[in-house]
């Protein structure tokens, strides 16, 4: 029974309330770094790590933090974890760090993290907060991976850097440029809306 509930917290963040496709939060990194699957996965996992860690700590401290200054306290905690991730990436994955660039420190202002801190971690116990962080974080990662796979495939003709058709047909370079980011995300959300509407229609009839 209990594990069921825990599992549903994770699944909720991953699918039903997917932060990117359903709630449309954290759009900046979603558009900016999804030019290749490697970058998308790196960004997604970095944000998921920060989200889970900050959710746990905020949940632990939820009775201690005065409600008046809670947002400031959350921001400090999140910024500290982001800096930790930034330092570790710079030290151990320098290539990824230089690809993601300014968008690593900008995880601080990723609305997903502050939103989960305020809406979930400040009200729930440590375990569910951790699971919520993992679920939402993986939902974000999954969304980033989907977008970046599409963009890398059409824009570079590769997936994970492995050439699929790049030598035979020239890929559509604009997909990896800024306009491509907007358009691919728009088309993907439209596709999801279409599938969701169709499923609803099937159920109704």
């Amino acid at each position: 029974m209990n594990t069921n509930k825990n599992l549903s917290v994770v699944i909720n963040g991953l699918v039903k309330e997917n932060p990117t496709f359903v709630q449309l939060l954290g759009m900046c990194p979603t558009l900016a770094v999804t030019t290749s699957l490697k970058n998308g996965l790196g960004m997604g996992l970095s944000a998921a790590a920060v989200l889970t860690a900050s959710n746990v700590l905020i949940s632990l401290l939820r009775k201690l933090i005065p409600s008046k200054v809670r947002i400031a306290a959350y921001i400090v905690i999140i910024a500290a974890f982001v800096t930790l991730v930034q330092m570790s990436l710079n030290a151990f994955f320098p290539d990824l760090a230089s690809q993601l660039g300014i968008f690593i420190p900008l995880i601080v202002v990723n609305c997903i993290i502050l939103a989960r801190a305020e809406a979930f971690a400040s009200k729930n116990d440590v375990l569910s907060s951790a699971l919520d962080g993992i679920g939402t974080g993986l939902g974000f990662t999954a969304a980033l991976c989907i977008i970046s796979t599409v963009r890398e495939f059409f824009g570079f003709g590769t997936i994970w850097g492995i050439s699929i058709y790049a030598d035979k047909i020239a890929p559509i370079a604009i997909v990896t440029m800024p306009p491509g980011g907007f358009i691919v995300l728009g088309l993907l959300i439209a596709l999801i809306n279409y599938i969701a509407a169709k499923r609803k229609g099937d159920k109704a009839s």
Binding site: S36, A73, A80, S88, S98, G155
Partner: protein
């Protein structure tokens, strides 16, 4: 009474916030002391590998002081000596402004003022087009040449460079950087020769 309550509450709130910040700063200081040397080592390794890459004969590099005549886009010049201790050329770190931002590169120049290699350290050019500047097919064109007169679409003659198709601005920017590096190298080499 309520005033006093208010005051203690403000003090309590402030103390907690201060404690959180202090703990966060302290934790970061510890992690920084671990990662900072690793990051520095990475950068130094990358720089050394890049220099070795553009000037293959060199075994030992030493940084030279820049004088005022040298173009401002040059950030560092290293003189390169081979294993016997003879001067084989210089490596010039130069920044050129491309299509998407600055392009940082290292250019190796031999003692007879010919380019021995070009390496792009960092760039933010258009993925799939401008980023091709880092590929040998483009950057190896400079090897053995001196200053470049012109960037052409195709069929480059002596002292000309074939542009990357779809990335003329990037090609011109890299060429400008190489030319600046060669000029800087000429100045430095002239001085080294006098010594």
């Amino acid at each position: 009474m309520s005033d006093k309550n208010n005051q203690t509450e403000i003090i309590k709130t402030g103390t907690i916030l201060f404690l959180i910040t202090a703990v966060a700063a302290f934790a970061l200081a510890i992690v920084n002391s671990v990662t900072a040397p690793v990051i520095e080592g990475n950068n130094a390794k990358k720089q050394a590998a890049a220099m070795k890459n553009v000037l293959k004969d060199a075994a030992e590099f030493s940084q030279l002081t820049l004088d005022s005549q040298i173009d401002k886009s040059v950030s560092a010049i290293y003189s390169a000596k081979n294993a016997q201790g003879d001067l084989v050329g210089v490596c010039v770190s130069v920044t050129s402004s491309g299509y998407g931002g600055d392009i940082d590169m290292i250019v190796g120049v031999s003692t007879d003022k010919k380019v021995t290699g070009v390496d792009i350290i960092s760039q933010s050019e258009t993925a799939g087009l401008g980023t091709k500047a880092a590929e040998p097919a483009f950057k190896d064109q400079y090897i053995g040449k001196g200053k470049i007169d012109k960037v052409v679409k195709s069929g480059a003659k002596e002292n000309e460079i074939d542009a990357i198709s779809g990335a003329t601005i990037t090609s011109k920017a890299v060429t400008k950087g190489v030319n600046t590096a060669v000029s800087a190298a000429e100045e430095v080499l002239a001085k080294e020769a006098l010594k």
